[in-house]
Symmetry: C2
Subunit: 223 residues, 2 copies
DNA sequence: ACGATGACATACACGTAAGTATGTTAGTAA
DNA sequence: TTACTAACATACTTACGTGTATGTCATCGT
């Protein structure tokens, strides 16, 4: 049977994307072949080349969901009423990771992006979009930091750019290590995320702040 | 001229390694061909296959220097007299990055490792060694943290495992973002590294600690 | 001084993967 | 119902990259 309905064709497209993620997680983006991806989706290479121009286009399409998550978090942060600017900041910082906690798909795409893909010209196009999304995120973070300073939550003598760099790097590193494959011990990030972000902001607040730091409790779970 | 002396042959080997790094930084490990690497070193593929078993072996050899840096930092941390355990901890945390600041070669290898290489089976062997080195680092970090707690520098109610994860992730993320290629703004990490690590430890110390946080000063440099 | 060998260069064989061209069938609009 | 076309499958071409086999020459031991 060929020539499916539009509804089914759209599902086929999604099947290919999911299959791509699956193969990427096994072989890496560079080593993954279109043939393998098609097999994984129970299709042929013809189907893949129908829905996507080439491998580069497919890779970009896979990463689009992750990009939308970043942008989505950024947009949401703007319109959050009845919370303090400090709380907004915390929610914003946790945003991308919380999306990954919720959705296995997002988690997988993050994993591919950070561990099974390199900046070689294969995915250069996709990386440009990612960088752009991070640019939005950074811009919004700058705004939230300034607001938190104006509201008196953070020290007024902060070096904003250093702070932005440190915060983004820390959240990036947290996600990266959390999603590192092939490690015996998997850290239970969801359980500790709140404490960790609080702790990161602790040094940025006024000395008299009394936020509780990372205290004893949960033990990392086994894989 | 063929058949160099042992001295020269060793230099040829190093040339190949440097050429490999150079090509990896341009094309990524997966897309880099042995031919290109040989060209970059003004040699032929024959030379490369003489010094290394295959591409995998070459990749592993490139990463060995980075691995030695990690292990070197870990070893050094053990024997540092006349400093407090807190200061030891700080030096230890900054160690890998400081080595990268000093040596362009180390910096380049880090960059390849974090941005131009994926976990696809190509470099699976190399990654195993990296993970092992990180294991040593983590073990030593655990020891240093416990010591700092015993000496009264850090809160005694810390969740050690969470702390280890946060610290390693943050330092990892810092390095990662610092060495991200193709970004217009390059953060001046060397200038801010001290303050940033101090800030990371701030939340782990007793409330009465008066470490100054990230304050205004340097502005990120242009690339 | 002379064979043995180390340090490469050259040439070839093999597989593999991307892209494309073309075939096939079933929905879809008229 | 019929022409048209969307949604694939199949077959083929091209190209490249790896690994290896073989050639070559200077150096080193004796």
């Amino acid at each position: 049977m060929v020539r499916k309905s539009k509804q089914e064709a759209l599902k086929t497209r999604q099947d290919i994307l999911n299959a791509a993620i699956s193969v990427f997680l096994k072989k890496g983006v560079a080593k993954a072949t279109v043939h393998e991806i098609a097999d994984e989706a129970n299709l042929t290479r013809g189907a893949v080349y129908w829905h996507f121009d080439d491998k580069d286009d497919l890779v970009t399409a896979v990463f689009e969901e992750a990009i939308n998550v970043i942008i989505g978090v950024t947009e949401e942060a703007v319109q959050q009423p009845d919370t303090t600017s400090l709380e907004k900041l915390k929610v914003f910082l946790r945003g991308p990771i919380e999306q990954a906690i919720k959705s296995e798909n997002v988690r997988n795409i993050y994993t591919v992006l950070m561990h099974f893909c390199d900046h070689g010209d294969e995915a250069a196009n996709a990386y440009r979009l990612i960088f752009r999304a991070q640019g939005y995120y950074e811009k919004q973070l700058r705004h939230l930091l300034n607001q938190a300073i104006d509201d008196g939550y953070l020290r007024s003598d902060l070096d904003i750019e250093s702070t932005i760099f440190m915060l983004m790097a820390s959240m990036h590193g947290l996600t990266l290590r959390w999603l590192t494959p092939g490690q015996p011990i998997v850290f239970d990030l969801p359980a500790h995320l709140g404490k960790i972000t609080d702790n990161l902001l602790l040094g940025l607040q006024h000395p008299q702040s009394n936020v509780t730091p990372i205290t004893a409790g949960k033990i990392p779970t086994q894989a």
